[in-house]
């Protein structure tokens, strides 16, 4: 028998926790949209076992305490057992205790710094071995080995910078500075950093600045008259959403590593982008976090179709090793670590604000979230030049 309350036409209720306001809303709104689009598509196709999926939605407003409260509310009063949500590691850590205590399941559609495994989480964004390594290699081959690190002040940038520092020094490069700004930054917070960049003239700026601070930083860079040709900003998080936020002028020429860009050349992706725009507006853009939010609902739906029950134990068993044809290419949940096989890519923002894909993996890359020491040899065979 199916779990949940009531008869066989009752909807499958699932929690959705993405911020519609606050510093990371700019990206979380697109994760929310990706989630809703997938749910609507699945429901339009008849639901799962004849029952529709019903999203129970709360807006945590980019506030970690609200994330925790809403997670507890969803798992408590709302009697939900599966939650899609979270962007920052801070919000994930905030909801995790509640998720684990209730033995629920969290689907987390965001790249992060690795070093986590919970039996109650499915991680569908990139681990560092699926984006940091590729970015380091591309930047050092094409721009140089003197790196300036700028990040938002929290755990994801610390760990990402540690990995980047190791990769750069391993190759005989140098990290000239490592600076942090608060999450709720003001444009003026970047003044000193811009001055330091002008002074040290690095060849690459590695940015782990997230949320609305991203646009502030790229705009400050442009206002200082720096040239992306000689000193680009390289990022793991700056995607189509941030580009729209900052405008093409500030974004052009900079580089991002991600498993997905809106410009991925495949039928599955073109169809995804078309449906996304039809649903949310012609001016809207997909991105890596939005795509992960989208395909993870399908992974869930496949597992649910197999279990016909919402309990974490049987869903988890059905999810491990499961595959899906995502817009970025086929993806698979690694049965050992609950992270996802993904397709590393490098994109450079062109004059229209779109990511020109300058490199991509020729095969999916297995996630290795507990890899401490990354080396550039690990992936060079897997990611080749794009034939242009």
């Amino acid at each position: 028998m199916a779990s949940g309350r009531g008869g066989s036409s009752e909807p499958w209720r699932v929690g959705v926790l993405f911020s519609q306001s606050g510093f990371s809303a700019v990206i979380e709104r697109t994760q929310f949209n990706g989630t809703i689009l997938a749910i609507e598509e699945i429901n339009a196709a008849g639901g799962i076992g004849g029952r529709p999926i019903e999203p129970v939605v709360y807006d945590p407003g980019s506030d970690f305490i609200s994330f925790r409260r809403y997670a507890e509310h969803l798992l408590g009063e709302e009697q939900v057992n599966v939650v899609f949500g979270c962007y920052t590691s801070g919000s994930r850590k905030a909801v995790l205790p509640a998720i684990e205590r209730k033995n629920a399941l969290l689907f987390y559609p965001t790249l992060y710094e690795g070093f986590e495994y919970s039996p109650n989480v499915i991680y569908t964004g990139a681990a560092p071995n699926q984006n940091s390594v590729q970015l380091a290699q591309y930047m050092m081959e094409n721009h140089g080995k003197r790196f300036f690190l700028v990040g938002s002040n929290y755990v994801y940038p610390y760990e990402s910078n540690r990995i980047m520092s190791d990769l750069v020094t391993e190759q005989g490069g140098k990290v000239v500075a490592e600076r942090y700004v608060r999450l709720n930054s003001e444009p003026a917070d970047f003044d000193r950093i811009i001055a330091e960049i002008a002074e040290t003239r690095p060849e690459v700026i590695f940015s782990t600045v997230v949320g609305q601070s991203t646009a502030q930083f790229y705009k400050a860079y442009r206002a200082a008259g720096f040239e992306p040709e000689t000193m680009p900003i390289a990022s793991l998080t700056t995607c189509e959403a941030e580009v729209a936020d900052m405008g093409v002028a500030a974004a052009r020429g900079h580089v991002t590593a991600a498993p997905y860009f809106e410009t991925v050349d495949s039928d599955a992706n073109r169809a995804f982008v078309a449906r996304y725009r039809e649903r949310f507006g012609a001016g809207e853009h997909t991105n890596m976090c939005c795509e992960a939010a989208y395909f993870q609902v399908y992974l869930f739906a496949r597992a649910l179709a197999a279990t016909n029950a919402l309990d974490a134990q049987s869903l988890r068993e059905a999810l491990l090793g499961i595959e899906f044809q995502a817009p970025q290419g086929p993806v698979r949940i690694d049965p050992d670590n609950h992270h996802t096989y993904l397709w590393p890519r490098i994109g450079r923002i062109d004059g229209n604000g779109a990511f020109e894909i300058v490199r991509e993996a020729s095969a999916w890359v297995k996630p290795d979230p507990y890899l401490v020491t990354h080396t550039l040899d690990d992936w060079s065979s897997a990611v080749g030049q794009v034939a242009i």
Partner: protein, 211 residues
């Protein structure tokens, strides 16, 4: 806040203990149950070279860096577990499910470097593993240094005793006594310590004046 953030200086390399984690050889001494399996799975996720064994082995296999030991079950198995607490062969992480004084006392007697609780949770394992191994390595380094220093003190004592004997029996001053020992050592291609021991032994046999 800034102090915390800048705890990692720019370009600072990751600690060796952490970088080498995938070469760590880990032995799990734990019954084959759900906790044992969860522990093993997570150690493999971390990427250590891991093996598990139960019942406790009579002898620890060679080349083990870290041992995870299920304390209560080992005690209940009423089997002597060979663990030289004053000179352990590997880092020890003890797994406990009780905190009563009997168990805590057993942890202390084993001089474990880290303790984890049951049920096994992936969170915290990595930190405990790395920190236990680093602590063990540091302890062993200190132990070796102490041994070396003790040896050195002994050697100086012997040299002084030999010098005394020469001074008393040959009317030499301290410098002359030392030079004599050193030239003997060089001629015979022996250490000054070996010569000092020879002098002390001979003086005992010959009944020379010792002091």
């Amino acid at each position: 806040m800034a102090g915390l953030v800048r705890g990692r200086s720019p370009g600072a390399e990751t600690s060796e203990a952490l970088r080498n984690i995938r070469s760590l050889r880990v032995l799990v001494i734990h019954p084959h149950d759900e906790d044992g399996e969860e522990l093993l799975r997570h150690l493999k996720r971390i990427g250590c070279q891991t093996q598990a064994t139960w019942p406790p082995p009579k002898q620890l296999p060679p080349n083990v860096d870290v041992v995870f030991l299920s304390l209560r079950q080992v005690i209940e198995a009423q089997q002597s577990f060979p663990w030289k607490a004053d000179n352990p062969p590997a880092a020890l992480v003890v797994i406990v499910d009780y905190e009563n004084p009997v168990m805590v006392d057993a942890v202390l007697k084993l001089t474990a470097q880290a303790v984890i609780g049951l049920p096994i949770r992936p969170f915290g394992l990595l930190t405990n593993l790395v920190s236990a191994h680093a602590l063990f390595t540091r302890e062993r380094k200190l132990q070796r240094r102490i041994e070396k220093l003790e040896e050195k003190v002994k050697s100086i004592k012997r040299l002084n005793q030999a010098k005394e004997i020469l001074m008393k029996n040959h009317g030499l001053d301290e410098d002359e006594a030392y030079r004599m020992i050193r030239s003997q050592a060089m001629n015979k291609r022996m250490t000054t310590e070996a010569i000092a021991i020879a002098i002390i032994n001979a003086s005992e046999i010959l009944g020379l004046k010792q002091d």
